[in-house]
């Protein structure tokens, strides 16, 4: 078994994710080799940009199957921002775009109203909806860093780990027994974010 694989599908800067994991003492490899992803100890799916462009790149680099496989195999998995949204059935961004469909649910947009600026950008608080090893040491009201215009609406509410309010209350992370996926950026959320990365790294180490 090797280290943590950070999936590189040409969407955004992966350096901060890698740096964050390194800071919590974790070896992380940036890769787009399906073999390396499938054999990693844990997998991180980051992502910024447009949903459709991300899906297109995942397809182009032949990564859709590898991601499905690691999630279905219950390998430790961390999805960040668009890497969180992509796990769902579809996004309404540019009229429905198919996602990886590993979790039933839609990705919908914020509606700018009452001076609400989109994208939602900056620090915001989370409210915990359940306990999870991925959220050890994290408490209600902790601030995390967000940059997004869309948010997920899971069909199965039992996966919801935290919510956040921006105009409306939205799901800011989900957790299962092997997977954590979040709308916020732990790698840019200083101490609290590093704690989440550390939780993930520890979990992946145990296997």
């Amino acid at each position: 078994m090797s280290e943590i694989a950070i999936i590189d599908y040409g969407m955004g800067n992966l350096r901060s994710v890698q740096k964050g994991l390194e800071r919590v003492g974790c070896k992380a490899q940036v890769t787009r080799e399906p073999q390396q992803i499938v054999s990693a100890r844990g997998v991180v799916l980051p992502g910024v940009g447009a949903f459709s462009a991300c899906m297109e790149n995942l397809r182009r680099f032949g990564l859709v199957e590898a991601i499905r496989e690691v999630v279905l195999q219950r390998k430790p998995f961390l999805g960040i921002c668009l890497g969180f949204q992509l796990l769902f059935t579809e996004s309404e961004e540019f009229g429905p775009q198919k996602g990886l469909d590993l979790f039933p649910g839609k990705v919908v947009g914020f509606h700018p109203q009452n001076g609400l600026k989109v994208p939602h950008m900056g620090w915001n608080r989370i409210v915990k909806k359940k306990e999870s090893p991925f959220l050890q040491g994290i408490t209600d009201g902790d601030y995390l860093y967000f940059v997004h215009s869309y948010y997920v609406t899971p069909a199965d509410v039992s996966v919801v780990a935290t919510t956040t309010t921006y105009g409306t209350s939205f799901v800011s992370s989900i957790a299962t027994d092997h997977l954590f996926a979040c709308q916020f950026h732990p790698e840019k959320s200083q101490k609290i974010g590093l704690r989440i990365l550390e939780n993930f790294a520890r979990f992946a180490e145990k296997g």
């Binding site: 969407m11 955004g12 800067n13 350096r15 901060s16 910024v48 940009g49 447009a50 459709s52 462009a53 297109e56 600026k117 989109v118 994208p119 950008m121 940059v147 997004h148 215009s149 950026h185 840019k188």
Partner: protein, 242 residues
């Protein structure tokens, strides 16, 4: 040849300046995101975004607008204006910016340019703004005695992935591109050069298209597109012609 629409942001709006003068601006879109949407629908493959307030203040000001453009369309964004620290560059790349354009930072601090080119390979573009062949810096407020070609060669050695050459005596004027200076610069370096400043008509695109073999890979178009001198589709067709 790549036709790259420019989206210059001042006080949250999409504007064009006349010869880089902050108070000689024309507002074309209330929202830069709307401008981006328009160009993407017309077939843009790359957007050139400039944070004008950022350029003046020395640090990014319109992060939200930039993030919205990066997230909105799946079309790569090139960003310039006020990117003078490693943190500012990294933050922009984290927002999804494809590559960043450095001006003052590259001119004033070669060590810095070398360091960021090493850290972010293929992500760093140097924007050389010149008036009559001489480099201008600090949001175009100061002229220097440095020759634009010499600076381009130095930036190539320091690791820049490409050069954007803007003739600011022409920018926003629609007086026509300074083809001669662009060619002189493109021939002096091996990295690709993007021409900018003063595109007035499809004839300018045609003249630049001839320089593709000399390393001119694209052209940034601003006012001519916004004022409707020609459409982006027409320009793309000319840029793609054999």
């Amino acid at each position: 040849m790549l036709i790259i629409p420019a989206i210059d942001i001042k006080n949250g709006r999409c504007v064009r300046l006349y010869q880089g003068e902050m108070d000689k601006d024309t507002i074309y879109y209330e929202s830069p995101v709307e401008a981006a949407k328009h160009w993407v629908e017309q077939g843009a493959e790359l957007l050139h975004v400039v944070d004008l307030n950022g350029a003046i203040e020395g640090h990014p000001v319109h992060k939200q607008e930039v993030a919205a453009i990066c997230m909105g369309f799946g079309v790569p964004v090139e960003l310039g204006g006020g990117l003078r620290s490693l943190e500012a560059i990294e933050e922009s790349l984290d927002l999804g910016v494809k590559r960043v354009v450095l001006g003052t930072a590259a001119y004033g601090a070669p060590d810095f340019l070398r360091a960021v080119c090493q850290k972010f390979p293929q992500k760093i573009v140097v924007g050389i703004d010149a008036r009559y062949g001489r480099v201008a810096v600090k949001g175009w407020k100061e002229d220097t005695s440095m020759d634009a070609v010499e600076l381009a060669q130095r930036c190539e050695i320091d690791g820049a992935s490409r050069i954007i050459y803007t003739d600011i005596s022409r920018d926003g004027t629609s007086l026509g591109v300074n083809v001669e200076e662009t060619l002189r610069l493109a021939r002096a370096v091996r990295i690709p050069v993007i021409a900018s400043g003063g595109v007035a008509s499809l004839e300018d695109i045609r003249r630049l298209k001839v320089l593709e073999k000399d390393g001119v890979e694209g052209v940034i178009v601003g006012r001519a597109l916004y004022s409707g001198a020609f459409t982006l589709k027409e320009a793309i067709a000319v840029g793609a012609a054999d």
